[in-house]
């Protein structure tokens, strides 16, 4: 019996043991790297400038009367000025000067550089700035709902990257080497090698089923060796 189990444990692991190594290596990376660090929280300054309320001359009532049905109305401070951003009834995002109520143009390159520099906790220079407006140019790490967006990459070996909405000037997401690596670890962990979104793939099912069998065989061997060392009929 034990002889047979040892043979099956060996042969099963000869086929899928590499995945156990991958599971434990990728798992170790994911549990040791702090998830908040992975999400780039340390790249962005947490405390923003408080809103200069004394400059907010354009009221919310006014905004709602001029843009009826406006949703997700938010007042924040952007580049030392209070601004509103919201979605109108046609689902278009707008940015308004909260002092005058004027529609502000889309965030330009100069402004985005200022925002990025101001929010970045490091002191690296900006390596590249790219405007992404089209789904066809969308990097896989960015969701299409964030378009149009500025991609700002800082000059650092870990390539810290801010994605800044061209509509609102807010940082919609961040990336850096360790997050990108984390995504690859995840893909190898769940054995979905393209976009890493499908835990329910048949390949994982097959290997995990065989893996469970191999692990139970292994546990039987350990039980025999540790708790039944005097049993000599291991066949």
């Amino acid at each position: 019996m034990i002889r047979t189990i040892r043979k099956y444990h060996k042969w099963l692991m000869a086929f899928i043991g590499a995945q156990f190594f991958i599971w434990s290596l990728t798992g170790l990376y994911m549990v040791t790297m702090d998830i908040h660090y992975i999400h780039g929280e340390s790249l962005q300054r947490q405390s923003q400038q408080p809103i200069a309320l004394n400059q907010v001359n354009y009221s919310l009532s006014k905004l709602l009367s001029e843009y009826p049905g406006a949703q997700q109305i938010t007042l924040t401070q952007l580049l030392a000025k209070p601004v509103y951003h919201f979605i109108d009834k046609n689902h278009t995002r707008h940015l308004l000067d909260a002092q005058t109520g004027q529609l502000l143009p889309l965030i330009d390159k100069l402004q985005v550089l200022k925002i990025a520099k101001h929010q970045y906790t490091g002191d690296d220079a900006v390596a590249s700035v790219l405007l992404i407006t089209n789904k066809s140019e969308l990097p896989s790490e960015l969701a299409p709902r964030h378009l149009p967006v500025w991609q700002v990459v800082f000059d650092n070996v870990w390539a810290p990257t801010f994605y800044i909405s061209q509509n609102t000037g807010t940082i919609v997401t961040k990336r850096h080497f360790f997050w990108r690596l984390f995504d690859w670890m995840w893909r190898f962990h769940i054995m979905d090698y393209d976009d890493g979104e499908n835990v329910a793939n048949w390949f994982l099912l097959l290997i995990a089923l065989l893996g469970t069998l191999a692990a139970v065989f292994g546990a039987t061997l350990t039980y025999q060796r540790v708790f039944k060392p005097n049993n000599q009929g291991a066949n």
């Binding site: 599971w23 009532s61 692990a215 049993n231």
Partner: protein, 344 residues
């Protein structure tokens, strides 16, 4: 070295074995589960909060007095407008926030009270249901350990024992936690080894186990490579036979056997009905399956670790650590001796 590797493999497997099987079984659950059900949202429906008409003009923000704010949102809760004034917020919505709610008509300080929480909970649920209780819970919240803000918990009387959690800063439904969701959360707790309720997977217990598991798989792979080098992970389907003369000491009998090559002597003899004593079943660790061969037969690490020098000099070797092809004549003292098969 290889003996240490085997020993490490055994003791590491004793340490992490049970958790490793838990990881595999919960992994299979995540692979096969119904994600919609598992999210707890099977009976969830969105709550309409916005009103189409204003009853009165809003009180201007400038005329109100409150601590410095990073963000102010116009928040609709069941048709009523509030200023949601955020003084401090984290990178994620579940992280601790400092928020003031002011009635946008009157400027009075407001809160998501029990009446609002109860109404929102019922509106967020598909189908008729009663409320058992409503309580404002302070973090840490047992069913949502990650959340760092006070939440309303509204217990419903449905068959799935749904608890509706509502953010006390916004009136938004954070989660429907029902029995399906509890099962999924239990699976996550098991998979993340979150036995101390941190709500995450960055804790020392799982880090220690992950390191041990990595070592377990590395010692396993090392062992497999060793087996491959020893010729016992042979993928070739050669039908070669080795002719071996077996002298059985217990029965004082001699047999001429033809054993398959590419397997261990231990397995080959067992297939022929000659069962040697063993505890480990062919791992080269218990030292019981010794047979006497020609003294010139190569000594493996496992032989040296398990047999005395005098035994080695006399030609004793472990049958599980040698291939059938290495020997032509052996002496064995078997446990059971069935009528040998594979006779030429």
């Amino acid at each position: 070295m290889l003996q240490l590797n085997k020993s490490l493999h055994k003791w590491l497997s004793l340490l992490v074995g049970l958790q490793l099987i838990i990881w595999l079984v919960t992994g299979l659950y995540f692979n096969l589960m119904d994600h919609k059900k598992g999210s707890g949202n099977a009976n969830f429906r969105p709550v309409a909060h916005a009103a189409s008409e204003l009853n009165a003009p809003f009180i201007p923000l400038k005329s109100l007095d409150f601590a410095p704010a990073q963000q102010i949102k116009l928040l609709w809760v069941l048709g009523h407008p509030y200023y949601q004034i955020t003084h401090h917020l984290g990178a994620h919505s579940y992280q601790a926030k400092q928020v003031t709610l002011l009635d946008a008509y009157s400027g009075q300080e407001a809160a998501i009270n029990e009446t609002l929480a109860r109404t929102i909970a019922l509106k967020s649920f598909k189908g008729a249901v009663n409320i058992i209780s409503a309580n404002l819970l302070q973090p840490p919240i047992a069913e949502l350990p990650k959340h760092e803000n006070p939440l309303w918990q509204v217990k419903l009387s449905d068959a799935e024992n749904t608890n509706v959690y509502i953010d006390s800063n916004s009136g938004r439904v954070i989660a429907h936690i029902n029995d399906d969701r509890r099962l999924r959360d239990l699976m996550f707790t098991l998979h993340f080894m979150d036995y101390f309720g941190t709500g995450g997977f960055n804790h020392w217990l799982i880090i220690v186990f992950a390191i041990a598991t990595l070592l377990l798989s590395m010692t396993g792979i090392t062992w497999l490579i060793e087996r491959f080098n020893a010729g016992q992970l042979s993928f070739a389907f050669k039908s070669k036979k080795q002719r071996i003369k077996v002298i059985e000491l217990a029965q004082q009998q001699t047999h001429e056997l033809e054993l398959k090559t590419g397997i261990s002597l231990f397995d080959g003899l067992a297939a022929a009905g000659i069962v040697l004593p063993s505890n480990c079943g062919g791992g080269g660790t218990c030292g019981l399956c010794k047979v006497r061969c020609n003294e010139n037969t190569q000594m493996t690490d496992a032989d040296k670790a398990n047999l005395s020098n005098s035994k080695l000099e006399q030609g004793y070797r472990l049958a599980c650590q040698h291939n059938t092809a290495e020997v032509t004549e052996i002496e064995v003292r078997s446990r059971t001796f069935n009528k040998p098969k594979n006779k030429p």
